[in-house]
């Protein structure tokens, strides 16, 4: 029995075995769909933000089903912050690279062939940068609020409200 199956059988953390098994199957599909929406954002509906939210929701689903340890193992706070900042930085750099063509955000790559992955020049690069940033930051917001909220609730339970100063 490998580690994942142990996790699935372990009912002390997260939700029931049924949920965990289904999440295990669905997870890959959601990630692939999210990546598709990010990568094909310039030729079909979607884009960096929409795809990033889908990717982040995959991680959030994992966290909800398996508990926060699993979520943190897949993407720790340090990694989330790193990806978040480098995504934003990459987006600004795509804009700055346009100065090579003389203008900020100039489309410095060729237009390519319509309806293909490598078309529309630098939009693909910006979409990937935004996708990475949104994935990391939405997941980080979720984790921070849920962990932080739990700490506060535990601290507040059973205590009298502070007297007014």
């Amino acid at each position: 029995m490998d580690r994942l199956e142990q996790e699935i059988k372990d009912t002390s953390k997260g939700m029931t075995t049924i949920v965990k098994t289904i999440v295990r199957f669905v997870m890959g599909i959601i990630v692939i769909f999210g990546a598709y929406v990010v990568l094909y954002g310039h030729v079909t509906p979607g884009g960096g933000f929409a795809g990033g939210v889908i990717l982040a929701s995959a991680y959030i689903l994992l966290t909800l089903a398996f508990g926060k340890e699993m979520g943190l193992r897949k993407m720790s706070n340090r990694w989330a912050s790193l990806l978040d900042n480098s995504g934003a930085l990459a987006f600004v750099i795509v804009g700055l690279l346009g100065f090579g063509g003389g203008y900020f955000f100039y489309n410095f790559l060729g237009r390519g062939e319509p309806f293909h992955l490598f078309s529309a020049g630098s939009i693909l690069l910006s979409n990937i940068a935004i996708g990475v940033k949104v994935t990391a930051s939405v997941f980080a917001i979720f984790m921070t609020l849920s962990i932080f909220g739990r700490i506060i609730y535990k601290a507040a339970e059973g205590e009298e409200p502070e007297s007014e100063e």
Binding site: R78, S86, L89, V92, Y103, F104, F105
Partner: protein, 500 residues
């Protein structure tokens, strides 16, 4: 410089994220990044003063389809104010923010705020303006609550709620404008509105904008957040908020939209003048009774912004002579720049006093001029300047505004301006008496002068107060003229669309 105009927002944005990445390796590095970035921006903005007006098409997309950046006299003036005060606030922060944790995050938020304000000032696109407005606002909400004490959190939440309502109003107005004209490009909007004329819908949009941007500028019926938010923020941020943010997000946007897009109008002029007079009187009266150093300064900000608003309102009057309108605008812009200088000086001084004594309560302070001579002298210069004592800069700008009001035939508003000048004098004399002179309390007998990085910005700002007062003609006459004429010449702004 023309090629690199967008760098005013790109550099601080990139630096904000780079700073967070690099600070994982070493905490020290964020100080240098912040100093370097704001230093480069300050130098660039001073260089911008010597450029002729131009437009910049982002990504080489032809306007009105692409995003347009506009540089003229007004935006150059605002860029200098934002970036120079920003540099001084960063220098002040080195020592001051050492008492807080998470200094890299502070500098990142600071740079996001600078990026937002620069963006608001350089853009020529309505929605872009909204986006940068939100970037600057969100960064400032977070910075107000940076201390995470009870008061800070409550002030930040209050500011956030009111700011959220203001942003909603602004977005609503933009949606109306778009549905009416089908364009978001500001010169293009100006042309379209010229054709449409002053319909009821345009009137509603103007009302929404006055509410939204007036809230950001804290004109009186919308001022409730300012006296809480400004004192709660760390001192350099108070200086940035009071000195720059309310001007870049509030006053500048009102000026740009009312003069260059909507055009002169009797009713708008009357409303803005009334709001200005109300802000002057109420802000001034409320400032008198305050016992908190920074709270008094915050109310005084409301009052001083009233002078700028009343000058804008006067210049917006369609029937006013060109001389009066120009005089009022020059006075208003001069007061805007002056207020940025002396109000940030006073807030930074309050920070230096708090850093050494640990209190902002006026009743617990006193006699500090003997213990902190340089800070004390700078505070004295700042408060004399804001109270309108002659050779300092505040005197001249108030004089010009009041003269313009009398020449325009507004005797009552002119008299109100004079009276509020006296009220300002009263509460700043009280402030000086409570903080600088009088008896030194026992508890403060061991106070030392503030550290060098805190004193340096104070000295520079105090020197600016004096220099701008004495050398008005030599230093800013030309700049203010070009800024005022950029506002008054709506035709020139509309011609930016065809690359003029």
């Amino acid at each position: 410089m023309q090629t690199y105009y967008p760098l005013f927002t790109a550099i601080p944005l990139a630096a904000a994220f780079l700073n967070l990445l690099l600070s994982k390796i070493s905490m020290k590095v964020s100080d240098y990044i912040a100093f370097l970035v704001t230093g480069i921006l300050a130098v660039m903005s001073v260089k911008m003063l010597f450029e002729a007006p131009f437009i910049y098409a982002v990504g080489n997309w032809r306007p009105p389809f692409g995003i347009l950046l506009v540089s003229d006299g007004l935006s150059s003036l605002m860029l200098v104010v934002i970036n120079v005060i920003g540099l001084l606030a960063v220098i002040f922060s080195f020592k001051y923010m050492a008492t807080y944790t998470a200094k890299p995050k502070y500098f990142s938020l600071f740079m996001l705020m600078i990026a937002g304000m620069n963006g608001v000032v350089i853009t020529g696109d309505m929605f872009n303006l909204y986006v940068f407005l939100e970037i600057a606002s969100i960064a400032s909400y977070a910075l107000v609550g940076f201390g995470t004490g009870k008061k800070e959190l409550e002030a930040s939440f209050k500011y956030l709620i009111l700011g959220g309502v203001a942003s909603t109003a602004v977005l609503f107005g933009i949606a109306f404008l778009y549905s009416m004209t089908g364009t978001l490009n500001m010169p293009d909007l100006a042309q379209q509105l010229e054709v449409i004329g002053m319909t009821k819908t345009v009137g509603f949009v103007v009302a929404l904008f006055i509410m939204g941007f007036g809230l950001k500028a804290s004109a009186v019926p919308f001022h409730a957040w300012l006296p809480d938010a400004h004192p709660s923020a760390p001192a350099p941020i108070s200086a940035m908020l009071s000195g720059v943010l309310i001007k870049a997000l509030g006053i500048y946007t009102i000026m740009r939209i009312m003069f260059n897009i909507v055009g002169k109008n009797e009713l708008i002029s009357a409303i803005i003048m009334f709001l200005g007079a109300l802000s002057m009187v109420i802000g001034g009266l409320l400032a008198i009774g305050q016992k908190d150093f920074k709270r008094m300064l915050a109310y005084s900000s409301i009052s001083q912004m009233g002078y700028v608003l009343i000058a804008i309102g006067l210049a917006l009057k369609p029937g006013a002579e060109l001389v009066v309108a120009t005089l009022a605008l020059i006075g208003g812009l001069f007061h805007l720049v002056n207020h940025a200088v002396f109000k940030s000086l006073l807030f930074l001084a309050s920070g230096a006093v708090e850093y050494r004594t640990g209190t902002r309560d006026l009743e617990k302070l006193g006699g500090l001029i003997k213990k902190m001579p340089v800070t004390g002298a700078a505070t004295a210069i700042g408060s004399l300047s804001i109270a309108g004592i002659p050779p300092f800069n505040g005197f001249w700008s108030k004089l010009i505004i009041i003269l313009a009001l009398f020449r325009g035939g507004y005797w009552i508003y002119g008299t109100v301006g004079v009276v509020v000048g006296f009220i300002t004098l009263i509460y700043f004399v009280m402030l000086q008496k409570e903080v600088l002179f009088g008896k030194l309390p026992e508890s403060l007998s061991k106070v030392k002068e503030a550290p060098f990085t805190m004193v340096l910005p104070l000295v520079i700002l105090a020197a600016l107060c004096l220099a701008m007062g004495i050398g008005y003609m030599a230093i800013e006459g030309q700049l203010l003229d070009s800024a005022a004429s950029a506002l008054l010449d709506k035709m020139a702004y509309m011609n930016y669309l065809i690359g003029g």
